[in-house]
Symmetry: D2
Subunit: 440 residues, 4 copies
Amino acid sequence: MKHNLEKPAGRLGVLLPGLGAVATTFIAGVLAVRNGISQPYGSLTQMGTIRLGKRTEHRLPEIKDFIPLSDLSSLVFGGWDIFDDNVYDAAVKAGVLEGQLLYDLKDELSSITPMPAVFDKDYVRRLDGPNVKTGRNKMELAEALIGDIEAFKADNDCSRLVMIWCGSTETFIEVTDVHQTVESFERGLIDNHSSIPPSMIYAYAAIRMGIPYANGAPNLSADIPALVELAKKTGTPIAGKDFKTGQTLMKTIIAPGLKARSLGVHGWFSTNILGNRDGEVLDDPGSFKTKEESKLSVLETILEPDLHSHLYDDLYHKIRINYYPPRGDNKESWDNIDIFGWLGYKMQIKINFLCRDSVLAAPIVLDLALLLDQAKRSEMSGIQEWLSFYFKSPQAGEGLRPQHDLFRQLMKLENTLRYMQGEDLITHLGLDYYDEAAGS
Amino acid sequence: MKHNLEKPAGRLGVLLPGLGAVATTFIAGVLAVRNGISQPYGSLTQMGTIRLGKRTEHRLPEIKDFIPLSDLSSLVFGGWDIFDDNVYDAAVKAGVLEGQLLYDLKDELSSITPMPAVFDKDYVRRLDGPNVKTGRNKMELAEALIGDIEAFKADNDCSRLVMIWCGSTETFIEVTDVHQTVESFERGLIDNHSSIPPSMIYAYAAIRMGIPYANGAPNLSADIPALVELAKKTGTPIAGKDFKTGQTLMKTIIAPGLKARSLGVHGWFSTNILGNRDGEVLDDPGSFKTKEESKLSVLETILEPDLHSHLYDDLYHKIRINYYPPRGDNKESWDNIDIFGWLGYKMQIKINFLCRDSVLAAPIVLDLALLLDQAKRSEMSGIQEWLSFYFKSPQAGEGLRPQHDLFRQLMKLENTLRYMQGEDLITHLGLDYYDEAAGS
Amino acid sequence: MKHNLEKPAGRLGVLLPGLGAVATTFIAGVLAVRNGISQPYGSLTQMGTIRLGKRTEHRLPEIKDFIPLSDLSSLVFGGWDIFDDNVYDAAVKAGVLEGQLLYDLKDELSSITPMPAVFDKDYVRRLDGPNVKTGRNKMELAEALIGDIEAFKADNDCSRLVMIWCGSTETFIEVTDVHQTVESFERGLIDNHSSIPPSMIYAYAAIRMGIPYANGAPNLSADIPALVELAKKTGTPIAGKDFKTGQTLMKTIIAPGLKARSLGVHGWFSTNILGNRDGEVLDDPGSFKTKEESKLSVLETILEPDLHSHLYDDLYHKIRINYYPPRGDNKESWDNIDIFGWLGYKMQIKINFLCRDSVLAAPIVLDLALLLDQAKRSEMSGIQEWLSFYFKSPQAGEGLRPQHDLFRQLMKLENTLRYMQGEDLITHLGLDYYDEAAGS
Amino acid sequence: MKHNLEKPAGRLGVLLPGLGAVATTFIAGVLAVRNGISQPYGSLTQMGTIRLGKRTEHRLPEIKDFIPLSDLSSLVFGGWDIFDDNVYDAAVKAGVLEGQLLYDLKDELSSITPMPAVFDKDYVRRLDGPNVKTGRNKMELAEALIGDIEAFKADNDCSRLVMIWCGSTETFIEVTDVHQTVESFERGLIDNHSSIPPSMIYAYAAIRMGIPYANGAPNLSADIPALVELAKKTGTPIAGKDFKTGQTLMKTIIAPGLKARSLGVHGWFSTNILGNRDGEVLDDPGSFKTKEESKLSVLETILEPDLHSHLYDDLYHKIRINYYPPRGDNKESWDNIDIFGWLGYKMQIKINFLCRDSVLAAPIVLDLALLLDQAKRSEMSGIQEWLSFYFKSPQAGEGLRPQHDLFRQLMKLENTLRYMQGEDLITHLGLDYYDEAAGS
């Protein structure tokens, strides 16, 4: 790992496959902050502080100063979409942000237009659009993306790039032979192998070029041995999968709390209503299965029924997502948790979260762009498990159980930042305060 | 600190000022577990495991084996109450546990009868009872408690003792001169100083005798300089205040999650309905104020508005407790949290917790009894901040901000246990897994 | 209509196809009331009063005295089930009522054993049991039921009988030719027509014998022209379909309130979690469709979007039922209602109902048994629309829109009772009080 | 009663004491509808239909056509307030409606400026403002109001007037001698009697002039014998008290439903959070008591524990209103209802209403203005109990229990409208449909 002490020079290009609700909310938000209209609420890298040393030292710098992250002013944005609306029009259609705010940023937003997308209707059955690439095989499509990226970099005078997948959830597939090695994967691209969805083609293009890549959807994308191997070879940091927002965010906050107290759980029922394009896509059983797998894994790895069979063995976990147009992007979740404590007495927790999906996801895009760029400059490559904090279904090294507990993820992230800058790690032991107090 | 590697010999006496809903639920539960009727759900010391070493080592012992805690079979119970019901009758009246379960344990429960209590109606206006001590001054009352304790120890053949305050919330008072030194405090006891409530007299008796003391209510009790000083002198571990159950437990789970994500909070409204004796006592404005102070402090120390003014400066925090007899001990809380994220967009979280207060508190009594006894055997004394995990209003060393975040409290507790047994502390850094994986 | 002024003589036999959770809860409850253990809470006929005349007359008799209903002491119980458990065993397995209560009634409950049922697995795919009738065709099965009923009547010395379907929800079918006339239907029975499910065979047997019949499930059962015709011929009162409990009960309470105030509705999302046999059966898509149709119709007929297009034209109504074992019979519903008012401003109502399905259904069985017996004695026959109050999907005369508004249903029921006894109908006009007050 | 068959000629002046959130929302809404910007959602008179005759006749006219109500185009607005902001500025400060909508109506709204108010800080302790009348005694203040009204009528060329109290809740007082007769009341005005708050002075002025008067707050105002007597003398229709919105609206929807089913109620806990001026005023214990009395009476008169002691005798009803600034006018209520059914089994209903207080109140102001004007033209005078539908605490004739059940209130209102126009009253009996069907 290379220590970084100075802010980077030059512009950082942020490439976004999928210019829908999340990506346009992200872009509009960064522009709003740059224009002094708002603050980057929800972004740990912009709003967070980090404690260094002992509590009594009162060293609490802002993360963005402690780590020499790119400034927001250095970001430029590009992307691909199956619709050819520019970012202003796409944002108006997404209906997440108020018209007045978008109007104030119209010139900047309108100037960003999507490049034609790599798309395959077999993987996203509920969508279709005109702005798509064609090619004789998937390798040709990958090459076309690489061409796009090189052109973008030159046109926008970027010194560095990152790519964050903000596209739709693709239908469920499992890892097979074609995904095992760089060689088999590249052969698959040429052979138009059916198990290579668009999100893998984007990931391949980025990683081959050494561009950090993060995956905000539950699709496999870069989470296959072939692309992990390629990432190590090309020195590329990668992270995924599925931005942790809304219901799953709450679940990875609350489940660790229940477990901390050794409270048992009989059942956890989670339902959602949402009316945006995401809801429409997830109305397709194939896409829902991909999402469900991503969401279901959370409780088991946090609660560890194998270690705590009395408490979690009979846990019944059920997740439902309901397309419900009256809500648009204002997703709402309702959870019922059946817990038990002392002597087996039953209690219930109900959580009703009136959230906004894209509003929760946008600052994650920002943080990942900046932290992956930082990782690249620090010469870190392969899976960045310390970014698990941002994902529903964190990608982890082979043989390692992913960490879902939000608070262990945060500790991992913060101690990694301390480690990157040569500071002591925090353990919260703190017995020394009391020895001192006693005069010893 | 002395390393402990063997289970202790002899019986551990658990002394409980206040044999109401919490204490009787605790005793009945331990007996039920000893009789094979139930498992000690909700108790971290009995049900929890602790990870040691690297993730790949798979060393995950049970806490009760890792640390040589007293076995449940070695516990004996005693206590004081203003009513003279034995523990069986008191448990039936408290109405927390089912009649059948209590009936199955009737012989053992009936054999425990309360010693006459030190009581002062000025401090708990809604209660009164016949089983109270009299004395010319508060020092005499303290001496009477010491006599009770010595007799209990002899009668029950105990090798060690701990005391856990399970009494009612006393009316609000502030720290004054009489609380500053052991000397001024002992003079105050003799002079019948009005700022020394019963819970301080119990704490004084225990600490003078070197008996570990924990305080489950929000009263000051041992949280005054005089008793901290005495605890260091007599080598006594102490901990407090106010068992963290129900709504505040949820608050210290969720608030750290919101802060982790740099989500802003405009308001947090918390209401409760409960119909037990605790609810009746808290209907008195004086007792409510003590409780309110304990509950209000939580958000500010977790969210740190001084460090994050954009996010938490205008937070409006309101707590209500409503006496509502239809519910009995089945306390229920409803929280509404007004949060905001990216671009200031507003979201809401509602949490409805149908809990059982005494069921959540009872395993805390157990854990504190065992861990404080362990601390004593490890020659730790004074404030045990690593037990903050169990308290709404954790007692911390002078000049140290208390830690309310449940997950930092847990890390502190677990790393203290590791430290006590000479194991490496856990930082969740974990970069080494990936370096190994890369063959470096 | 014949006026009834005296309580009937003799015993009333209550015949129940389906001795599961609802039927056993009903029987145990009646026995508990007869034994002085409880009151018949939830039963309008037993607990309700009815206002007669002007408000100032203060004539408010109990319904059971105003109308000469059978006394609870005169009821005897019988039924059919595919399992051969007696009612005590079936009630214990259903898990609705506490063991102690059932134990106190064990002798009486054990003495009721199910007659072999008419069953067809094609109509209830998730269930199967050993205690079933066989026959060469459906007419033979009907004759076998008639034989059962005659034997039951003789054995139990009944002067009158009623039958209430308490069986499972059958898979969805539509009305076809075979259901049009008595003749086609009887031919269908002989020809083993596949569109005649068991619940129609029971209904046919009862109605042919002149025994009042009510249908507590959403299956068509007696809601076909053939059986309505037969009911008129044999002078038999009938009523259905689908006991109105839980979520739909709340819906028919709240929707009329919103409409009364001309508040618009954008969407109504209803979800349920339940873990009893009913939940298991409804996990089958065929049975769920039957239930869904029954539940969906409610809002449209109450809100009348054809008359109020500005308010209800775009109403999105979605219902989900989730099998969730941790809950057993303690069904729970969560509704989110998106409403709008003045200037189109949006508001939301969330309703969380922690209900008990069988506890809500049992008193409906009782009321229907008594009121249908009354109707029979009053020489009323065919569809008893005034009993719509008890049903999710009320059976109404041809060409008449069913009435779902609970309060209009209640007014209809109460004014029918007044009419049956020759009292003035209530209109709530009440202008006369003020003319009198003014001395005119 | 005089039958009205034609729409009235001329303009109707609507006079509003209190130009705050409710009044400005009402005025802006009517203007928006007149300008084609919105529909009068929430107004029964504008959006509702009424069924006439038998169901099979399909006679379902709109209420506003069936009854010759004033058209919205004929309304003119005036009012009094202690602040001198015009209606545009007041609406912007109230923060209920979006800026853009108000801006579109700015000219019309700005042209309405408040007349100086009659105000007494002893009755509304949390408010104070500069735009107030002075006078030697309360009779002089009443005369000043009468002068204002005459000037307004002339200036605006009105043919008729109505007055609707939209001011704040005054502190609690009881009816005393001074309120008994017109004579004692007028003497009290001259003597500056302390038990005559401003809202009575406004009511007196209106009623003396024969102007219909409705009271949207829980203050006594016109609900005293003296003003009822005066209303009969001057031929003035009056109605009150306290607009039925939000939580109480829901309560009078749900409680009748529970009672209809003979479900028992152990407890009903109602809490509210709101941050508008109303919330600030109700933070004062005196004003809260007035409101609490108004809200508490609802359940008792609906459930009638005197008639149904087994079901409602031990009902514990508690109401809390919490000032919570983050919400502004977006009041939110949370209700927990503890019910029981068959065999005493307990169930719970939770209702969370995210409402908007002024949005629910505004159409009530409109309906009352139009219906009271209608009553006046139909020569009805004194208490209009048929308008109970709109009030939390309906004013009823001496010796008559008020009707709180929303559905009986609606039936009363609709049958009164039918009666006014000579149509048959509806009883929902409907047995004739079935006799016809049977050919008899």
